[in-house]
Symmetry: C2
Subunit: 618 residues, 2 copies
């Protein structure tokens, strides 16, 4: 048993959290008060008994961390902060207002939020990255994550289940708030606590089932979790949705509904106020911590890569070499992969820095989620897989953008140029997926030197970034002194009287250079641009080239026509009245030899020549 005074204080905090959650959502006119009420006792225990954190210093690297995976219970989180003195209690009623950072679901606009949540099943994946980071920085901080029962149906949760066990993350403690009700009706397993216990046990977690409204049981469970070694702990908390407000308790149809201003809300608050218990001690406080740490030393810049002009090196292989070198210079760099490290060449990093490499197996969601968690705590993570399979983590990438997460993704095997494996392995929509996010940096190098240089650039450019690499070997065309930067491009062929500007990147850049040679024989010159930075894009140079080449811009890309390089260039130059002729893949492709496919789908040198000369005749 825990000291009754401590329990009483925490119970009163839980009641205040419920009252604040009701007040805030009623003021907002929307939100999820019943989902807050079910988790209020657990939240009180986490924030005012269990976690060690300094409320004045969210960036303290040794703070215990909390992730609200059930992001719709945001008002509960904000109420806990108010209780801890992190924000003013008066601010709580600004919930969901345009002029308030207390958004409908938590985002890292708020310094205590590591990752945006609200897309369910993601917070637990981020928590794994946060826990892995503790190991990276040799900290004993613990990571707590609160899930709803509805989100347990998400596959990503089970990716997290195996990853946490594989990494023996005993500093990770998850809690499921089993209130039994989803949005539309009962959740998948309703209040069948055993359904949760057996599943999580079978995945290798230490599992504790409790009454989530019994403060003594909650505290004991956290004690037990803290003393559990070599495996993560899952606390299954049986709760009642809307707990404390009798007319909504356990009732369906109250998900995401605030109590109405006036009688309804006032009645609920009055009822909650009757639940305060006598306290013998002042209210519980967070347990602050302050461990002095030496300042991190600045990393050395990379030396120029040692590729020779004409060497044939796949950009995916150059990527692997670059992150391995970068990892040597900068201890913050970590890499993750999804069982294809021998294809993406992240295995080069693993070989050099095995303690900073995380194998996610074939589970792309937890790979990106863990990368988000690592990034939130100061690591510079490079997760990689086939570009096609990054689409598996598309919703995580969306949330990473909302979080402005500092993750550096790499996708290999882009486009039809992979050849025989066929369309399931070809990324032809990855540029569309990545470009859609307005804060995403999108890089697409064509050779080993530019890959190497851009890996370093993306590492130190803030926010989410993506590098697209290719399967085939391509010749090195750049020297050690060539410059590359986020938002740049290189004009590789340029002359007075150029007939058109051909804009390419990656494998198609070599098709463009071949087209240049073919056209030269007809005494036609074209301008050739290597658009290695697809987003941001160098609008000024594109517009200048358009003006200098009769207004004719031709893009050629190993990607579907929608959302790729053609669209990026067109959007950039639209304000200047130019339009773009797009050469791109326009149908679902099939297996075949790479050259055969480039030609069949209309993105080979021959098609560029045709586009230049046909346009000329018009």
């Amino acid at each position: 048993m825990h000291a009754s005074s401590r329990v009483s204080a925490l119970r009163n905090i839980a009641t205040r959290l419920r009252i604040d959650s009701v007040r805030a959502t009623t003021a907002a006119g929307s939100g999820h008060p019943t989902s807050c009420c079910s988790a209020a006792d657990v939240a009180a225990a986490i924030f005012f008994s269990e976690m060690r954190y300094d409320p004045r210093s969210p960036q303290n690297p040794d703070n215990d961390r909390f992730v609200l995976s059930k992001g719709h219970a945001a008002p509960l989180l904000y109420a806990a902060w108010a209780e801890a003195g992190i924000i003013s209690r008066d601010d709580l009623v600004t919930l969901r207002r345009f002029d308030s950072d207390l958004e409908g679901h938590p985002t890292p606009r708020l310094p205590w939020v590591d990752v945006a949540t609200g897309s369910l099943g993601q917070g637990i994946c981020a928590a794994i990255g946060i826990a892995l980071n503790a190991r990276r920085i040799n900290s004993d901080y613990r990571t707590y994550v609160l899930l709803g029962d509805g989100e347990i149906a998400e596959g990503s949760v089970w990716e997290a289940a195996h990853a946490a066990v594989h990494e023996s993350l005993d500093s990770l403690c998850a809690i499921v708030d089993v209130n039994g009700l989803g949005q539309k009706g009962p959740s998948l397993w309703n209040h069948d606590i055993d359904a949760y216990v057996t599943r999580w046990q079978s995945f290798g977690w230490h599992v504790i089932a409790i009454d989530g409204h019994d403060m003594d049981a909650i505290l004991s469970a956290f004690d037990e979790a803290r003393s559990t070694k070599s495996k993560p702990t899952m606390i299954i908390a049986r709760t009642v949705k809307g707990k404390g407000i009798s007319f909504v308790e356990g009732k369906n149809g109250w998900h995401g509904k605030p109590l109405k201003k006036g009688e309804e809300a006032d009645g609920a608050i009055a009822e909650l106020e009757t639940q305060f218990v006598p306290e013998e001690l002042p209210a519980a406080q967070p347990r602050p911590r302050s461990i002095p740490r030496p300042p991190a030393k600045a990393p050395a810049p990379l030396s120029p890569p040692s590729y020779a002009l004409g060497d044939k090196v796949a950009t995916r292989e150059a990527y692997g070499s670059a992150i391995a070198r970068l990892g040597t210079n900068d201890e913050r760099v970590v890499a993750l992969d999804a069982d294809v490290g021998n294809s993406t060449f992240s295995e080069k990093f693993e070989k050099e820095h095995p303690r900073r490499f995380f194998e996610a197996y074939i589970a792309e969601q937890v790979m990106i989620g863990a990368a988000m968690g690592l990034a939130a705590r100061g690591a510079i993570p490079f997760p990689s897989t086939f570009a096609a399979f990054l689409s598996r983590a598309s919703d995580f990438i969306r949330m990473a953008a909302i979080s402005n997460s500092n993750i550096k993704m790499a996708g290999s095997h882009a486009g039809v140029s992979i050849g025989e494996d066929g369309p399931s392995q070809m990324a032809l929509e990855d540029l569309a997926m990545m470009r859609a996010q307005p804060n995403m940096t999108v890089l697409y190098p064509c050779d080993a030197v530019s890959t190497d240089r851009l890996v370093e650039r993306m590492a130190y450019h803030g926010g989410p970034a993506y590098m697209r690499t290719s399967r085939p070997k391509t010749p090195v065309i750049y020297g050690p002194d060539d410059d590359f930067h986020v938002g740049g491009l290189n004009v590789l062929r340029e002359a007075g009287g150029d007939e058109a500007t051909v804009i390419a990147a990656g494998v198609t850049l070599f098709e463009a250079l071949e087209a240049y040679d073919l056209l030269s024989k007809q005494r036609i010159t074209i301008r050739v641009i290597d658009l290695y930075s697809v987003q941001p894009i160098d609008t000024a140079t594109l517009v200048r080239c358009a003006r200098e080449t009769k207004g004719r811009l031709i893009t050629v890309e190993d990607h579907y026509v929608a959302g790729g390089i053609g669209d990026a260039v067109a959007a950039a130059v639209a304000g200047h009245g130019f339009s773009v002729h797009r050469l791109a893949v326009r149908e679902i492709p099939r297996s075949g030899a790479p050259e055969q496919l480039l030609d069949y789908y209309g993105i080979s040198a021959r098609h560029i020549v045709d586009a230049v000369t046909e346009g000329r005749r018009v």
Copy 2:
């Protein structure tokens, strides 16, 4: 024990499947022979003892079905077909060639393939849909799905695990080929059979662990699966990668590598040939079935919807009403949702047709995967959730496009117009995701009438389709006689001397109409287009309008700027030299009131007015 003659015949088939897999991959110079060899005994048993199917009639609705979730073992599948006489054995060596339908991973170009596989963890989700379809058509056919051990790490597999149990799918039998090796090294649980057994048991499956090379054990397992009622069966088959070829058996480093032509391949085949055993009976044959069924009756067209001009109805609600009405007229229509049926309004369908509604809970991957399986067997599935959360199934949508799957997706709560819930719930990249697929129909109605009409159009337009719906109520602007079709648009305002063409859809259409009214007061007229079909797009009308309105096209959309309506229109008119002024969301948004957000992010009537008048001054 099974008759030894039957066992001998099947063992010999397995040996032939191995030899054919080696021959084909060696001829192709790429592929995964070792992943075929581990599963050859199981495949022989499935195709020549267990499954009932008519090899001459892939479309027989009562055939048992097989899904190769580990799609990289395609040569094994093709070899089984050759053995069954479905294709010629001589064709096997055309594997992966551009002129062959025997692609690197199976696609539905081949009539026995229901869904494309090759992105791991998807086949089992499709198998759930195929099994659900048996229930829909009152057939006793059984569904078999073969998984690799590596793909068990995918979260989607665990979504399937709970969905199959929730639906009590005892006609579903899954087999994991536990060869212990992934691409890069040992799989997550290697040969720890117990790790598989406990997990699948905990999820409620009937689990049978066997030696996957013991034909008698394989046949017994299938017998047991067939007699298991009310739950699906999972057979955990312990196997050896490269089984039968001593110099690769169980060795790491042989994933996705063909044997070299000459000594290496010849030696392997010679060794396999020594493994033939004496047979007392002729080779096993498929067990054909032919159950007469009456032809399906053609569905009646929908009567016109009964909305009155000016009614305020959210398009999401009109969507729910439309699929419910459609379901009454056409028994093939089914609906699926991910716990938000009271937001997407698919609950209207559920209420009318509960037996044809499938609740996937918060598990979007298995929802789309099951829809693909249902579509493959003749259903017309409408899966729905918040549009933002369809991104969770992005890789499934990619594979649905490769499969040209007849699924009809609906995403609600698009854009910043959802308001207070904040960015995690706002779909702002769904058009980019959907448009990227070249065969995807993308519809975006603005009112209840057009929604109703377009639901019917999308149902009977072949291939994958997506409808974007909105949260706010919008006024009905169309009457019962207005026509809508895939690839169409409506010109709502048109006059001689129009200053520009404003192209909008969904909620922004009303901003455009308001801008029209505001500009009219300044005696400026604009053309206003309702672009309800974003893909395909009516290029001819857009070009005509551009020509008639001084070449000025302005798009306005509740979507990020990349990949949406602006890009779609720009790509359509580029060949005619027109460019497009795009009004779209250009940064990560935040919580706020809908009108506030539309205005702040630059897509309200005021911004349209500015774009028209500023352009005019230039």
